[in-house]
Symmetry: C2
């Protein structure tokens, strides 16, 4: 065995933004959720993690460098992912003695996001999906995205959904060991390719409470959470899958907005209360409502993760009507440059009833990101080091 040989593989992995939200774990160690969830994978042209995994007999220890900073790899989440991937590689090596013993080598993982980590843009989801996918590529594992999703889930729950493109669900599963708590494809991006997203990045302070801590406070103290888990989400999951299969934007929009609000309601019902939405977020809600009212039907839908940023889903056919309003209000902010933004014209007027909200939005949004539904992780020969 050539001791100087470095094995290497790289991947890009996408961000996903849930439309039926994950909030709450029934098992914190295994990252098993209290309810199923469903998300749209966003294009890696705009938001992505880029990760290179290397191993060599000469490496002394496992390391992880994220955006140029060495990270602690002793945490149980990352250790679980590494151990599972090594176990799969080890089984391959046992079955075929000609394979190099990569599972015995230390790993060096280098990862970069093309967007700010702390912006509340699901960076940990993309990051853990990229880490698992890159090591799976390095190990040449014959594992399906669903099998890898079970591993990525242990790193960051919502990461399991970033192993797929398009429209992806995470089944909460029933097994105590988490073996059936995995992601699956509801529909590929090609099924409904005209789903666009406009992200309004709010100029906020660091988030109030981390989602890891926040969701467990909600599980422990919200009197409404159990009702959400048992009665609200199961029904909505079925309806949302159907909306995606039918390419029914009106149903998709209604469910998306209701579920975002329901999730933030359980945050508010937490003791002490958790606030992720702020006055800027609420202004975005009012502008979306005014656009839909002016259109006479739902042409856009807001959703908010554990932070104040609005993600506004809309179809390409309504891009002028939706993004045009936001360009009129926020045209002076960064994010409109480039092919997508340059082709959008501002609408003539702010829709009726949204005038005050437009002012709040101008004051509170720092940049916009124009993107759309996209595909799953992409293998690449661009290696980071």
């Amino acid at each position: 065995m050539n001791n100087s040989r470095v094995y290497r593989a790289s991947t890009f992995a996408p961000v996903n933004i849930a439309v039926i939200k994950y909030w709450g774990k029934r098992d914190a160690k295994l990252n098993l959720p209290t309810n199923s969830s469903l998300s749209v994978t966003l294009s890696q042209d705009h938001l992505r993690a880029h990760t290179t995994a290397s191993c060599a007999a000469s490496f002394d220890s496992d390391t992880l460098k994220l955006n140029g900073q060495q990270q602690d790899v002793s945490g149980s989440r990352i250790q679980s992912c590494l151990a599972e991937l090594r176990r799969l590689r080890h089984a391959m090596e046992d079955a075929d003695g000609s394979l190099p013993k990569l599972s015995d080598m230390k790993l060096h993982v280098v990862s970069e996001n093309n967007f700010p980590t702390a912006a509340g843009l699901a960076s940990s989801a993309a990051g853990f999906a990229a880490l698992v996918r890159a090591i799976a590529n390095l190990y040449e594992l014959d594992a399906s995205p669903t099998e890898l999703s079970r591993i990525a889930r242990q790193g960051s729950g919502s990461a399991c959904r970033s192993l797929f493109g398009g429209y992806c669900a995470w089944d909460m599963g029933k097994a105590a060991d988490g073996s059936d708590s995995v992601a699956y494809e509801v529909a590929p991006a090609s099924h409904w390719p005209d789903m666009c997203a406009l992200i309004l990045v709010a100029s906020a302070d660091k988030k109030d409470v981390s989602s890891t801590a926040g969701m467990q406070q909600t599980v422990a103290s919200s009197s409404l959470m159990e009702h959400r888990i048992k009665h609200v989400v199961p029904e909505r999951m079925q309806e949302m899958e159907q909306a995606v299969r039918d390419r029914d934007f009106a149903a998709f929009a209604d469910l998306t907005m209701r579920d975002s609000n329901n999730f933030h309601a359980t945050c508010l019902d937490t003791c002490p209360p958790i606030f992720y939405m702020n006055d800027t977020s609420r202004a975005a809600v009012r502008v979306v409502e005014a656009i839909n009212k002016a259109a006479g039907r739902p042409v856009c839908a807001y959703t908010f993760d554990a932070g104040p940023n609005a993600v506004v889903y809309h179809l390409a056919s309504n891009r002028a009507a939706v993004a045009g309003v936001f360009k009129l209000i926020l045209g002076g902010k960064p994010g409109w440059e480039g092919n997508q933004g340059a082709t959008i014209g501002s609408t003539a007027a702010i829709p009726k009833g949204a005038e005050a909200a437009a002012g709040v939005l101008q004051a509170g949004v720092s940049r916009v990101i124009l993107t759309a539904v996209g595909d799953g992780p992409r293998k690449t020969d661009q290696h980071l080091c």
Copy 2:
């Protein structure tokens, strides 16, 4: 009968601020609520409605003047109250032929609040309680506050609780005709006289959605509301009554904050969502939490009605620790003048963790009101005209 004789009676009536919230009607015509509620009546020294009811054979029509403006009296709410009071008077007149036939005369009602009507300070509760109490005085009705509460409830639901001082509950009742949906005294102010309230009046626009419209939207569309009604409130009502009976501030504070958050969570879960709390409200929450943390126990509790104003309950023994922090932050705002405010010294420092919230509060609060638990409606010889 002397046709020129004008009969007249006047009363003051207090504001009440609920700690278990009323939100939702099961019968909109009769103002029958979906759940019971419990409130603290605030002192009429600071916040009150003042109402004079007159009648005379020479009066042409029923009229109502509120803060100098003639109001429409054709609405079903006020008509229900007038009809019920006249019916009671009529029965007295039937039983005793010597009584003047006041029930046949038109009524002139004049009312003034000593605080801004639109400030979200339960003005309609005080107003309808005063109207009913003044006419009951005029008619010399032998009706208990609970009997009158059944009438006031038809004017404005929470008005029924302003017919009592101290700690007052409104039993939702079961009867279809609303006969058992009445207020009762949990404890008089003298039972727990050291309950104080500091109101932070937020400089807000007109409220988002009226509470009358908003609560019915919540009933119709919130997936969490039914759980609140059936499971959350019934248990909390019992616990809150017990906390009042035991003068247990820690339990009172915990229940008060949880129920405010639970109510606002159902507002957020409404479709479209209703936002009454804003960034100023949330800053008040964080300051209260920081004060309690610094004290090592709950010494104050926030609650928010259908608007952004915080009402901060605390005991007189903790006034220095609680109001002192708010005076340090908001000492430049109106409301600290007068006996109560002048005696409060600012604390030396803002409690740890509340520094950012203090800045938001400074920017968003327009005035403060220092008050305390108080007694029920007071008859007065000061007549308005």
